[in-house]
Amino acid sequence: MKTQIGFVALLAGLSTGAIAQNFNDPAEFERQKALLTVAPQGPDGKPWEQNLGGEKVDTAKYKKPGPYKLCFSNAGVNNPWRVVGFTNMQAEVDANKADIASFTHADAEGKDDKQISDINAFVNSSQCDALIVSPNTTAALTPAVEAAAKKLPVVVFDRGVDSKAPVTFINPIGGYGFGIQGASFIAEKIPAGGSVLALRILPGVDVLENRWAAAERIFKEKGIKVVGAEFTNGDNAKTKAIVEDYINRFGKIDGVWMDAGATAVAALEAFEDAGKPYPVINGEDQQDFLQKWKKNKLTAIAPTYPTYQWRTPVIAAIRILKGEPVVGPTWKLPQPAITAENLDKFVNDKMPPLHYALCGCEQMTNYPARWGGK
């Protein structure tokens, strides 16, 4: 009897669950589409200090004498994007030695539960003048961040929280912007009636879902045939196997859209191994893709989710503690795409394969060694 109730409940979940969530928000799509054309304000050549519109928040009440103790609760360093980003952040801390007395970080290893504990420990530690948070997930971290914001100035970046409690939330335009840039380019460049294969990492990650929702919409608007949307788990071998199967099945794939660029080279290699011409493709700002693009003169574009956003929270935290106004409560950073015109500016074969070109780190101390370059 009990068993039956359980299964009925699960089945009820199965039938209606799919409707319960929605990553396709047309209003947000339009907002991000508009932001792509906004001219950034702020210092030239330093996109991590620029902003696309936005208000200024008064921070006089947080003003205190330096140097400051900064704390950082990190969701994790479980992928190369976060590794490059965290390296940027540490370099930014070193660059502000005069203002920073200590920088303490806790790594949540991708676990919401641990990150909540980490944030609580920081708040109780009296070792933090300001707290920077990169949330593992939006919903789960909201209460902990709200509680922290009652005691400390909090700066959130990358993923947000459902709350206005943080002094500011910093991130680039976002997932829809990425999807729009990649899909519009592919739609424009493939021959009429051409077919596109979409490669995604995994379902359920908000920013990736937004990228796909935007791309799907663009392809639909332009009447492009999407022959498949497959999940690769970010695994090169699986990516290559899937693409090989599609080439086998359809004989010809004209375009490949990707929600993240880490496996773009593996996808291209599948075309090489099958003896087919390269497709029109979007990657991301990883060096291996940029180098392949330049070498093989691909028809390509690289939308980005710049890692330079990891520099901004440190700058913001110091400004807040000095009582200087900062952009907020949302601080939108520019999110440029790499195109054939500016490719040469970003490609650098001295850097490791999955180094993200838009790190904004070229002028920092110990570049390129600190980022693994030669």
């Binding site: 359980g6 199965l14 669950g17 504990s117 997930t137």
Partner: protein
């Protein structure tokens, strides 16, 4: 019947007292690190509450895992069941306080059902428990991810009291963990089911010859283990304000729960061990998290250390055992 009692009584008395040693060692490590790094806030009452809070999720599921390992089985499906439970809870509640009771009942019923299925496949179909529970875990995760791809629903604020509420300085959830541990300890040491559990884990054929219905014991252990996983899912839904289909897997609760049980001195082959050792193992893991935070060790060396500590913690007492280990 008498044979089973003998086996139960024959639990080792002269062995290393794993639980107190592990607990004292972890505590010493924690205090020394806090003093050495000058982070005295970790030594206040609030600091220790934070430390015990880190034990809750892993602790509850590890209590259940203790039972399956004691009976000579194992459960790899707990992580996925935790996700299912968390999602189902918040999906049924949808923020409505009135739906708390139905949701909790549904989660516990479903968990018991999963435990029953695990137990039946293992005891009746004779499928190796690793494969059976790995398979059931995959099935659960697949069904779950097919229907939910993100946080589903939400829990009402009344239900958040489960994870955030306190009696005086002590969080409810920490209290619950210790009450559960005490209850299971009573069950293991004071009831016939407990004695049968040890007997079946120690020597299944012997126990059967002594008249114990070993199949039922195994199924019972699995049902209890799954119920604990369900409770962990409820706790996480309360703490995260909603359930997401990845909370169990991201928490690596399957492998970590097995590791803490074995670190706590429970024999992987079954038949020997208990809940206090498991709790001490959970305490070690919570301490490590806090100590790594205090010392600011990077994520990757941390993994290397954690792996080495898991092996060494088991080796310390396993090395004295006779006979072969595979």
């Amino acid at each position: 019947m008498s044979a089973s009692a003998d086996i139960a009584v024959a639990r080792p008395a002269r062995e290393i007292p794993v639980a107190p040693l592990l607990f004292a060692g972890s505590l010493a490590l924690y205090i020394v690190t806090a003093l050495a790094t000058g982070q005295h806030a970790y030594l206040t009452g609030e600091g220790f509450v934070g430390l015990t809070q880190r034990m809750v999720a892993l602790g509850i599921v590890a209590l259940g895992q203790t039972l399956t390992i004691l009976v000579g089985s194992i459960d790899l499906s707990v992580a996925n069941l935790i996700s299912v439970a968390a999602v189902l809870a918040s999906f049924i509640m949808k923020g409505e306080p009135a739906m708390i009771a139905p949701a909790v009942l549904a989660v516990l019923a479903l968990s018991a059902a999963v435990g029953l299925v695990n137990g039946l496949i293992i005891a009746r179909l004779d499928v190796n428990p690793l494969i059976a529970t790995l398979g059931v875990g995959l099935i659960l995760q697949g069904l779950l991810s097919a229907s939910f791809s993100n946080f589903a629903g939400s829990v009402p604020s009344a239900f958040q009291a489960f994870a955030y509420g306190r009696i005086g300085p002590l969080p409810w959830s920490v209290l619950l963990l210790f009450v559960l541990a005490f209850a299971i300890w009573l069950m293991l040491t004071r009831t016939r089911f407990g004695a049968h559990l040890y007997a079946t884990g120690g020597n299944r054929d012997g126990a059967r010859l002594a008249g114990i219905r070993t199949e039922r014991v195994i199924i019972g252990a699995h049902v209890l283990c799954s119920l604990m996983a369900g409770l962990t899912g409820l706790y996480l839904a309360s703490r995260l304000r909603a359930g997401a289909p990845w909370v169990g897997r991201d928490g690596v609760y399957d492998l970590e729960s097995i590791a803490v049980v074995v670190i706590g001195g429970t024999l992987l082959a079954g038949g020997r061990g208990g809940v206090w050792g498991t709790l001490a193992g959970v305490f070690l893991f919570a301490t490590l998290d806090a100590v790594f935070n205090m010392t600011g060790i990077d994520a990757f060396p941390k993994q290397v250390l954690r792996g080495a500590i898991v092996i060494l913690a088991v080796a310390v007492y396993a090395v004295r055992s006779r006979g072969h280990v595979a």
